[in-house]
């Protein structure tokens, strides 16, 4: 093979490689699989924007700078019901220090007629958000109820608690952890 032919062959192979890179990149852009922020300790809490029962909108990222407890619950869930009074008590103790509770009702799986009476009966004063589509539950990989996410002022999840009811003392310790 002559030097010129050999050089052409080399450049042809290099060109083929570059073409492969281009096509591979194009393919992955054509069918992207969205990677969501993980609802796990040490990760940024996945963003959500939900309505309250009174149709006000709450966006998680608007609360950056505050310590947030995101609590996933339903009216038919016994441990959820049991821990609500403790959450209300601790919320009142720490809210002036920048502690916020977002109690997200799994409305897409709940009886909407029961939500308001449930909240009124227990005198809950923190925002009750409604996940009407299940999207938020999906993002937070809800597998069981209750599920609680303690989020620091920087928006990073400090602790995930699966199940309940959470003891008041333990709840206090966790809240103090995210208020630091």
């Amino acid at each position: 093979m002559r030097p010129l032919q050999r050089r052409v062959l080399y450049f042809f192979i290099l060109g083929l490689g570059l073409l492969w890179i281009y096509l591979s990149a194009g393919k992955s852009n054509a069918s992207p699989t969205e990677i969501v922020a993980a609802p796990q300790k040490g990760f940024l809490a996945p963003e959500f924007e939900l309505n309250t029962a009174s149709r006000e909108t709450v966006k998680l990222s608007d609360l950056r700078g505050q310590a947030v407890l995101v609590n996933l619950w339903a009216t038919w869930c016994p441990p959820c019901r049991e821990e609500m009074r403790s959450i209300e008590k601790v919320y009142n103790e720490y809210k002036d220090q920048g502690f916020v509770v977002l109690a997200v009702n799994m409305t897409y799986q709940d009886d909407t007629q029961k939500i308001i009476p449930f909240v009124t009966e227990r005198g809950l004063t923190f925002p009750i958000l409604l996940d009407e589509t299940g999207d938020m539950a999906n993002d937070y990989q809800m597998r069981s109820l209750p599920s609680s996410f303690f989020i620091g002022r920087d928006g990073i999840i400090n602790e995930v608690v699966i199940g309940g009811p959470m003891a008041e003392a333990l709840l206090r310790t966790r809240v103090e952890g995210i208020l630091k």
């Binding site: 038919w76 869930c77 029961k114 999906n138 069981s144």
Partner: protein, 420 residues
């Protein structure tokens, strides 16, 4: 000459090192190598038709003893029933079965329906107290295969408690047998006059998971109820295993519970997932989800398990994991058995690192020892429909398989002919 060789080397490195490596953003492989390694049979791709029931909020599908397929679904505080005589390809116009009753309809609770050999259809439902503390349990029947329903008959009044998950099964004579939950108590009542009057309510189990639907089957004088138990487990949370309770005298007395799951699964939370029960020629098959692979008290994903009993439900064989894939969360299985003994299972799965959700189907020809590689019947690629969930799988005597599920639009039913 050195430069072209260098270029050739770089080119080859690029080809081998980059071009042949899968992109990191590719979809998670749904069939892991573990299954391929065991050389399980690959079922042929299923070619199915679908039919929709828009705006349904809850559903259940059953094959009646008359051989027909019956769908019941909840919508706007009412229950509707539709019948199919062609294996689910077409359904009759849905009939309002609950009159002006205010039915408690919840997506996590499956409406109750059973059909006997004569085509008598029995349904049951709950009506909540105004303060949601307590409820009434109701039964209604149809004598004309679900075309018209009699007015509801009061079965029981629960004056207090979180009442949920009512189930009904008809015996050979068309007498309804009902079970439901009040908190963690498993309640039972039955009729001996085809639903005109009912027995006193019995408490047949004190430790049931409050958010997990039980399932019942009646065979002659034998009544079987599978449910997720709730046992105190100390610091690690409650133990939520699957058990079965049965009666050999038509519900007058119940035997001690039989343990089905060998997991001792600790979870201090509501997993929202009851068992699925099927029976065939005296054998019992129970499928369920649990998260035994994770440390006690944690729960990020579950697996689908199956246990069978060859001695009339007295003992169960060791648990067999059905889903080969072990990174997604698999839950809410539905099991059914065809006339040839083939076991069919469908369930839902959600990816852990993406928003993908699937409905899987598989079958076994060796009594549940091995299963074909699961096939995806539905996914959440269509955002207007969202996640396919709460699968109900049935097969009629002609080998028509029907799989019903719930999504944002309502109920969708896929049907196909079982392979020979």
């Amino acid at each position: 000459m050195k430069t072209p060789r260098f270029i050739l080397l770089v080119g080859l490195c690029i080809l081998i090192g980059y071009g042949c490596t899968p992109s990191s953003t590719q979809t998670t492989e749904s069939i892991p190598t573990e299954v391929a390694a065991t050389e399980l049979p690959i079922a042929p791709t299923i070619d199915f038709e679908t039919i929709d029931f828009p705006k349904a909020q809850s559903h259940w599908l059953t094959v009646g003893a008359d051989g027909n397929l019956y769908l019941i679904y909840g919508r706007d505080h009412s229950l509707f029933v539709a019948r199919s005589t062609d294996g689910g390809q077409t359904f009759s116009e849905p009939v309002l079965a609950t009159g002006d009753a205010s039915v408690h309809v919840l997506p996590i609770e499956r409406p109750a329906i059973s059909v006997d050999q004569a085509g008598r259809v029995g349904i049951a439902w709950l009506e909540m107290s105004p303060d949601f503390n307590g409820a009434t349990v109701w039964y209604a029947s149809s004598e004309d295969s679900g075309q018209t329903f009699k007015p509801g008959q009061l079965v029981a009044t629960e004056t207090q408690g979180e009442v949920a998950m009512v189930q009904v099964a008809l015996d050979d004579a068309g007498n309804p047998v009902l079970a439901w939950l009040n908190g963690s108590e498993l309640k039972f009542a039955r009729s001996f006059d085809q639903g005109s009057t009912f027995s006193e309510t019995m408490n047949i189990g004190d430790g049931s998971c409050e958010c997990c639907q039980p399932q019942s089957v009646v065979t002659g004088e034998y009544i079987y109820i599978a449910y997720r138990s709730l046992e105190p487990g100390g610091d690690k949370g409650d133990i939520r295993d699957i058990v079965m309770i049965h009666s050999e005298d038509g519900g007058q007395t119940f035997q001690l519970v039989t343990r089905v799951s060998d997991a001792h699964w600790y979870l201090p939370a509501c997993p929202i997932a009851g068992p699925s029960l099927a029976t065939h020629e005296g054998k019992f098959y129970i499928a369920w989800m649990d998260g035994r692979a994770e440390p006690p008290g944690t729960f990020s994903r579950g697996d689908i398990w199956l246990a069978s009993s060859q001695d009339g439900g007295k003992t169960f064989m060791p648990n067999v994991r059905i889903n080969p894939e072990q990174s997604m969360h698999h839950t809410l299985p539905s099991v059914t058995v065809g006339s040839g003994g083939r076991i069919h299972i469908a369930w839902e799965a959600q990816a852990s690192d993406t928003k993908e959700a699937f409905l899987y189907y598989t079958s076994s020809d060796d009594g549940g020892q091995t299963f074909a590689i699961p096939q995806i019947i539905a996914d959440n690629g269509d955002e207007t429909r969202g996640n396919p969930s709460k699968a109900v799988l049935v097969i009629d005597s002609m080998g028509h398989v029907a799989l019903a599920w719930l999504d944002r639009q309502g109920v969708r039913i896929a049907t196909w002919a079982d392979r020979k």
